[in-house]
Amino acid sequence: MPPVLRAPLVVEFPFTRSLGPVQSAFLTGLRERTVLGVRTVDGRVLVPPVEYDPVTADEIRDLVEVGATGTVTTWAWNEHPRPRQPLATPFAWVLVRLDGADTSLLHVLDAPGPDAVRTGMRVRVRWARERTGAITDIACFEPYAGEPAGPPHPHSGSFPEPVTGIVAPARLDYTCTPGRAQSRHLAALDGRRTVGERCPSCRKVYVPPRGACPTCGVATDEQVEVGPRGTVTTFCIVNIKAKGLDIEVPYVYAHIALDGAGLALHGRIGGIPYDEVRMGLRVEPVWREGSRHPDHYRPSGEPDADYDTYKELL
C-alpha cells in the first residue's frame, strides 16, 4: 500500500460585485464618513441598508443618515485574530445599534480585554485613515462617553464620484488526499506504468481508477496495467491560448483510449503536424523528467486502428 498523499488546494478568486443604488450609496457614504440606513415601509431604519423591504418586499429607497455613535447589543471576545480580520490584536466582535437605527451592524470593537466590554456600552466609529468605499472604512468601534447623536435625517444618497462596484476576494484552503485507488495509480505512474482497476461486475477497466464503478456502483480492486500505447478516438485542434497554459498553438487535444482501458483519457498529441492527426491514429506516451503524467503522446508508427475497434470509446 503506497503512502497516503496530501497536497494543498487553494481556490481563490477576486469576484466583482456591482452594488446597485442602495449599496453604492452606503459604501460611498462610509468613504465620506457618513453612515446611511434605509427606512422600511413600517418606518424602521435598517443599517446597513437593503434594497427591498424584508416584510412587504417593496423596493425601498428612502435613505437616512444615522449617527456614528451607538450601543453594543451583544458581543463575543476573539482572543486569537486570524489573518485579514479587522484588527491584529485581540478584539470583540460586536453588534452595534447606531443612534437612529433600529437594527444592529456587525463589526469589531477595539478593547483591552473582555472585562472592558459589556452589552449596553456606548461606542463610536473609528474611521480608517484611508477610505475607499468599503465596510473596512470603519476601522473598528471604540468606547465612547459623549452625547448620543440625534434622530436620523433624510439623505439623498448622492455623492460625487460614487463607488459602483467592489472586488470581493474569496479564498478557500483545502487539503487534498487522493485516496486509495488514485494513490495506487499515481505510484504506478512514478514507474511510468499506467494501472487501472477492473469492475468485477461489468468487467470494464477504469483509468484513472476511482475505487468504484460509477455505473455498477460496486468497489473496484483488481489492478490492470493498460497501454502504454493507445488509439486517438477523437480530438480537436486548439487554436487559442488558454489562460495559464504554456503551450504553443495550434496543438491537438485528443481523447486517447489506452489499450485495455474501458474509456478514453485526455492528452495532447505531439511529434506530428497538427493537421495530420486523425481519428484512429495509434500513439504512445512521451514522459518528461519531473512530471508524473505523460507530457504528451506521439505516433507509435503502427497502422491506424479500424473505426470499429474504437467507436464504442468515442
Binding site: Q23, E51, Y52, T56, A57, C213, T215, C236
Partner: protein, 388 residues
C-alpha cells in the same frame, strides 16, 4: 388523487447583456421576478413559495442565493429553496417548482434562475486545478469539440451544418428583444469566415457570456382561471442524470437524454414528436449540438439530425422551428439558460413570443442539459390543459 394540472401564467426576463453593472444581483433577479408578476397581474402576497436556481457557486461566488436573495424575491416568511444541477439548473428549477404545484403543496410558486457572468469567470470555475490529477489542456470549447468531431464522423454530416445553425439562431435573436447578441449585419459568409477556435468549432458557433435572469409564475387550475393572459399548460416534465464520464458513455447521444425525452413524451401522450411538437427550445451552447440533440430527443433517426438543419426544417418558418428565441448561442447567462428555454417554449404556446412567434404553436418542448451531459431536464407545454 390525480396531480394538479400546472399552468405557466407569468414570464419575465431581463434584457440579457454582457454586463449589467447598474444593478446588484438582487436588483437583477428582482427585475425578472417583477416582470413575471406583472405578466400574471399578481403581487408578492399571491406567491406561496419561491424556487431559485443558479450556476455552480464558483461561477459567481454566491454560495447561498436562497439566503441572500430572499428580500428581493419577497420570500420572507415563505418556503424558499435552491436547486443545483450545473448548466441544466434553470430547467430542473422550473420542474421542482412545477412539482410543488402538481402535488398541491403550494398553489402558486415563483421560480427564477439567474447568472451574472460578468462578476466572475466561468472558465476559471470550470477548470480548478486539482492536485494529483492531470490538468485539462483545452479551454471551454475543447471539452465539446471532440464530441462534435465524433458526431461528424458517425453521421457523415457536411462541415457546414454548424454554421447554418449559428446563422439561423443569430437571425432569430434579432426578433427577440431580450436576446443578448443582436448582430444586425450577420451573414452566413461571416459565420463561415470566423476564426476556428477549437477545430471543428468556430468562434461564431459558440455561445456568448451573459448577465441575465428569467422568472416564471406557476399555478394550478384555479390560478389559471384568473390569469389575464392565456396560460401555458405543462403536459410532461422529467429529469435524468448519468455520470459525466463512464465506460460506455455515449457523449454524442447520452442515454440519460433519450430516457428523459421518452418520459416527457409518454406523460404528454406524444408518440411522434417530429409531427406533434410545433417548436423546440433546446440547449445548444455550440452550434453542432442542434443536430446532435435533434437525434437525442427523437426528432430525427440516428445520423439524420443534420438533414433537418440543412434542409431548413429548423428555421423559424420551417416545419420544426428550433430556438426561435435565438437560443443559448445568442444569450447565455448559464444559470438562467435552461429556464429561458422552458420560458420561451411557454411563450410560444401562449402566443406571446412577439416577432419570433411560431405561427399556430400548440405544443413546444423546452430542454436543458449541463454538467458535461450529466444532467437533463425537459418539459413539454401546450396551449390546452392536459386531458389526463
Amino acid at each position: 388523487m390525480p396531480a394538479e394540472p400546472v399552468a405557466v401564467v407569468g414570464i419575465g426576463q431581463t434584457k440579457h447583456v454582457a454586463a449589467r453593472r447598474d444593478v446588484s444581483i438582487a436588483g437583477l433577479v428582482r427585475e425578472a421576478a417583477r416582470r413575471a408578476l406583472d405578466d400574471a397581474e399578481l403581487s408578492w402576497a399571491d406567491i406561496d413559495a419561491v424556487v431559485i436556481g443558479k450556476a455552480p457557486d464558483f461561477f459567481e461566488g454566491v454560495m447561498m442565493p436562497e439566503l441572500y436573495l430572499a428580500d428581493a424575491l419577497g420570500a420572507v416568511g415563505k418556503p424558499m429553496l435552491r436547486v443545483h444541477t450545473a448548466g441544466s439548473v434553470g430547467g430542473s428549477t422550473a420542474l421542482v417548482a412545477a412539482n410543488l404545484v402538481a402535488a398541491r403543496v403550494h398553489a402558486t410558486v415563483l421560480t427564477l434562475a439567474f447568472e451574472k457572468q460578468s462578476e466572475s469567470n466561468a472558465m476559471w470555475g470550470l477548470s480548478l486545478p486539482v492536485p494529483f490529477q492531470q490538468p485539462l489542456l483545452a479551454g471551454a470549447g475543447g471539452f465539446f469539440a471532440p464530441h462534435v468531431r465524433a458526431y461528424m464522423r458517425r453521421t457523415g454530416a457536411p462541415a457546414t451544418v454548424g454554421s447554418l445553425v449559428a446563422y439561423k439562431d443569430r437571425r432569430n435573436a434579432l426578433k427577440n428583444p431580450y436576446a443578448h447578441l443582436h448582430e444586425h449585419d450577420i451573414t452566413l459568409a461571416k459565420v463561415q469566415a470566423s476564426p476556428m477556435l477549437w477545430d471543428p468549432i468556430r468562434y461564431s458557433e459558440t455561445c456568448p457570456s451573459s448577465d441575465g435572469a428569467c422568472a416564471m409564475v406557476l399555478t394550478g387550475r384555479a390560478g389559471a382561471a384568473r390569469s389575464p393572459r392565456p396560460p401555458a399548460w405543462v403536459h410532461g416534465g422529467a429529469m435524468r442524470s448519468e455520470p459525466t464520464m463512464f465506460a460506455g458513455k455515449d457523449f454524442v447521444s447520452p442515454q440519460a437524454g433519450k430516457d428523459c425525452a421518452a418520459d416527457v413524451y409518454r406523460q404528454a401522450g406524444v408518440s411522434d414528436p417530429r409531427r406533434e411538437i410545433d417548436a423546440v427550445e433546446m440547449y445548444v451552447p455550440f452550434s453542432w449540438y442542434e443536430p446532435m440533440w435533434l437525434e437525442n430527443l427523437g426528432f430525427a433517426a440516428d445520423g439524420e439530425g443534420w438533414k433537418l438543419t440543412e434542409s431548413g426544417v429548423t428555421e423559424l418558418d420551417g416545419d420544426l422551428p428550433v430556438n426561435p428565441s435565438g437560443g443559448v448561442l445568442s444569450t447565455n447567462p448559464i444559470g438562467a439558460s435552461g429556464m429561458i428555454r422552458f420560458a420561451e417554449a411557454a411563450l410560444q404556446v401562449r402566443g406571446q413570443a412577439g416577432e419570433h412567434q411560431v405561427d399556430g404553436a400548440r405544443k413546444a418542448l423546452g430542454h436543458a442539459y449541463g454538467g458535461g451531459a450529466q444532467f437533463f431536464a425537459m418539459w413539454l407545454v401546450g396551449a390546452e390543459p392536459p386531458t389526463t
